[in-house]
Symmetry: C2
Subunit: 479 residues, 2 copies
Amino acid sequence: VHTNHDELLTHLRTTVGEASVLTGDGLEAYEVDWRKRYRGRALAVVRPRSTDEVAAVVRLCRRHGVAIVPQGGHTGLVGGGTPDDSGRQVVLQLGRLNRVRAFDEANFSMTVEAGCVLQSVQEAAAARGLWFPLSLAAEGSCTIGGNLATNAGGTQVLRFGNARELCLGLEVVTADGQVWDGLGGLRKDNTGYSLRDLFIGSEGTLGVITAAVLQLVPRPVAQVTALAAVPDLDAAVSLLRTATARCGASLTAFEVMNPLSLELVARHVPGLSPPWAGHAVPPSAWTVLLEVSDGESEAHAQALLESALGEALEHDHVLEALVASSVAHSRQFWHLREAIPLAQAAEGLNLKHDISIPVSRIPAFVAATDRSVQAVSPGARMVTFGHLGDGNLHYNVQAPAGVEPSGYLQAFEPAINACVYDAVQAHGGSISAEHGIGALKRDELERRKSAVALALMRSIKQALDPADLFNPGRLLRRR
Amino acid sequence: VHTNHDELLTHLRTTVGEASVLTGDGLEAYEVDWRKRYRGRALAVVRPRSTDEVAAVVRLCRRHGVAIVPQGGHTGLVGGGTPDDSGRQVVLQLGRLNRVRAFDEANFSMTVEAGCVLQSVQEAAAARGLWFPLSLAAEGSCTIGGNLATNAGGTQVLRFGNARELCLGLEVVTADGQVWDGLGGLRKDNTGYSLRDLFIGSEGTLGVITAAVLQLVPRPVAQVTALAAVPDLDAAVSLLRTATARCGASLTAFEVMNPLSLELVARHVPGLSPPWAGHAVPPSAWTVLLEVSDGESEAHAQALLESALGEALEHDHVLEALVASSVAHSRQFWHLREAIPLAQAAEGLNLKHDISIPVSRIPAFVAATDRSVQAVSPGARMVTFGHLGDGNLHYNVQAPAGVEPSGYLQAFEPAINACVYDAVQAHGGSISAEHGIGALKRDELERRKSAVALALMRSIKQALDPADLFNPGRLLRRR
């Protein structure tokens, strides 16, 4: 086997050039995941410059029976892009496939290579007066290939959908090293199975995404943001309904935050004070962030938002509301929301659950799960926030006040996870709303997903990647 | 084999009841397709009443090696739901699975069985004050199962997408007669391959859709329609850009019609006069139908539409525009558009091409294809219309004036199809935008789709339906 590896490395160097095949030490950026929960060891990190080079690398690895772990910005949260610790997997790092291949303004689309950083895609669209609305915390370093391979979500899903809904086509290198060109850029194409949708969200286990056609939209003329204090989650769901009816497609964000998440932000993030200080808002109130994006004017956006908030105030679904008076003010509201993960980290290690539930069942889910987590771990502190408009909560758990977090996690992680995922299942939800499965949730998926669904997934994996070449052991167990 | 068939029929009768297994004569409704191009002969038509009965029927047919053709409203346009003429296929007619299982207003969703007629779904949503925006000519008889199996399009795709984008989950009977329950109704669920998207658009070749969770939206307060005369298709594309920028997500339809399509309507459909009679519009002008749906007020919708048309008039992209002054007036505009297929039928047999092209390339495509069709068949009359906003044209060809159509079709169909599909391929388009492949375009698909895509599709079919039980020979050739 060792000889084989040397031979493979030689072939790889001949194919993509010496400088594009990294081996040895100093490869932590590729071998350790962003949350530092997974530490792998790669046979090599290969950095091809073109789709043809990717295909050649795949054919070589296949011939030598060496597995490939595709990697973009390596910002995933579930260890799906990190090699295992065998030292026998090749990391296929796609960062050098970073060209914008085409821009088609009349078709509202652009064609980009997989290694383009999300923020650079947003900027390229903006430079043409258009908008690529996919937006998430890691946008400065994550790549569009990874966004599509994991069907990334983020803050604009309510209006524009996940990465899936923003993709008109793909180019993919298959497990036999061929290139599937699905870059048509068509809005309608009923010529057989939706291969695009199969590769999107497959986490690098079925093929390597090398390029994509992205859907663009007109840039909004104005974006107006508001914070609303609501008595409880039931009221938040009612407010969502009112805002959807009043603002329609202009409602581009509807985020919820429990009291503790904002307390932690106030405690750990300088310059972010609690929004309801000085207002007659009880400490038990939850906070909703609403955003309206408008094609007409700021005044029109403001009027839409105020009409929704006004109706909700009348029905006591909203206790108090603040409408941002400037872009800077809006940014501050968003900053509150976006600082929560940071504040959580500052408070100490914690358990994260990226889950979704039908919106209507979220209040009951949170009530029931809070109770059962407290029964297992009295004093556990719930940091619950997220994209309520999409039914997606980050239901996170912090150690009780004063308890040392890492020991706590070791002792309670399995029991708390069981509580949360049992409740997710009982409420018809998903154990991974937007982060994917990767290595972290693979075994949980085996326990929670129906046998029929798992069998279908395994058949598909077997059909498209019979040698288990792509990202083996991620998402699904090895065969 | 014959003995087997008798035994199967006996088992089927025991399983779903005598009255639910139809055999013999009088089954034309199930055996002849809507366009009367395919005349099959079924071993039996089975009409189960529940998902469990569907699963039992699948297991029985599988055990006897008898193929199943799933069928809903049987309104497909490509022969995908019609049995072959062997008399050895079972038609699985799903019309009795027609319950609305659940309605979740706070989740903006409803769960319906596959046999629900589209119009009844629309009405059930409307009764709750919500809107299910999928809308197409056959809505009075097509079923939601068929809409999803074929990823139906229609007139609201521009804003709401195809059937795919309006579906939150599926229940499917697999080829081994198991039930996959994917009815979560979640907006976000990144737990593995998107099985939902794989079954949607698979035309009954991978599984039998028995139920679905549908996405609902708020009902618009007002819908305003306009007709615009544009000098040519380039101007129509410019108008689309202006309208998208001005009206954003409120723009719910953008349909185009060439002069001949409106002439045929005026000739054959009583009460529908040409819209530009008495206006200073040249006979070569194309007509665009725009619709704006608004959550605020009729006045606001009208203002949006007028601002878009005003800008286009200034740039000479629009020659003349009519904004509907009442709901009845709007209906009349839509009637013009919807009467085209009827008017074409009255004019005589014709060739239909349901194609899509990136919007930006549509003017060049039509110019080039018109030329090459005229070269092959001088005097051929082009009836070109469709959903320009989605890049989807119905590029239809009528025999030259005075030429007997059926002989003409026989003589020219292959050559004209070759012209059209060559041009579609050269312009990066699709040979089936919304009607699917079925039997009609199966061989064309083999010629036009890349070998890599076809190989992927065949692997998937083999993986999920190894015995070729579901709709064999449709979409893909039999193995």
